[in-house]
Amino acid sequence: MEHYSEPLNGVFQALADPTRRAVLGRLGQGPASISELARPFDMALPSFMKHVRLLEGSGLIRTRKQGRVRTCALEKAPFAAVEAWLDGQRAIWEGRTDRLEQFVTANVSEEETST
């Protein structure tokens, strides 16, 4: 559990601010450049960059510079952990079904040989 607390603190901090939430919401529709992201906000670029860097530090987004344009995109990894949960449950149920099958078929063949 400790393992998760540090990155999650970053996630929590990132989501605690309305500007950053709006940026995440925009990036949910697809990657965007910094200037495109900054446009709706009445804010100096250096201030806006602080928000971007905080989001990047939290692992929620990644940025990439191409020429003079820095593009931001949502990082899916924090969400992948949630998807992995269902895969984990599936593995548990597959295992249960394997053992159930093995258990009942072994019993059937025992009964067949004993009669």
């Binding site: 999650l8 989501l15 969400f79 149920w93």
Partner: protein, 157 residues
């Protein structure tokens, strides 16, 4: 009544098991049989309660590495159709009492098949945020809201 399948929250397992329905039914409803397969070896399973009727408790414990038995599953049977279907949920405990950390309802169905039993388990889960919170990431209550926000951002896209 059949439950609709939600690919984001549900899973289904289906299999032809080469044993009669009665044998599969017994494996699900007989304590000693259930203990043999519910939990993977070498961990041991102990059935504390198994009242196979609607409202009945389904309570298991597990022991790993020969240690003390600790809670495993605490659930309540919702529907029991002999040799055909078992529905249970951990949203309730025995006697319909609401449970602390609900996240799952399972529907196990058995049908005749020329080779034995047509077996299916349909397992439905709560939303992603709660699942992650309770089961995987060790989130505490405050984090539930956070993951819900995350999910809302991504799913709203």
């Amino acid at each position: 009544m059949t439950a609709a399948f939600n690919p984001e929250l549900d899973l289904t397992i289906s299999r032809i098991i080469k044993a009669p329905r009665a044998a599969v039914w017994k494996a699900w409803t007989d304590r000693a049989s259930f203990e043999q397969w519910w939990i993977p070896a070498p961990a041991k399973c102990r059935v504390i309660e198994m009242e196979v009727r609607p409202g009945g408790a389904m309570l298991t414990q597990m022991s790993e590495n020969g240690g003390d038995f600790t809670p495993h599953l605490s659930a309540c049977y919702l529907a029991v159709d002999p040799l055909e279907r078992i529905v249970f949920t951990n949203a309730l405990t025995g006697g319909w009492r609401p449970a602390e950390q609900p996240f799952m309802t399972a529907i196990v169905t058995l049908r005749d098949h020329p080779l034995g039993t047509d077996y299916a388990a349909h397992v439905m889960h709560k939303n992603n945020a709660d699942r992650a919170m309770h089961e995987d990431l060790g989130f505490h209550d405050g984090w539930g809201a956070v993951t819900e926000q995350l999910a809302a951002l991504v799913e709203g896209a």
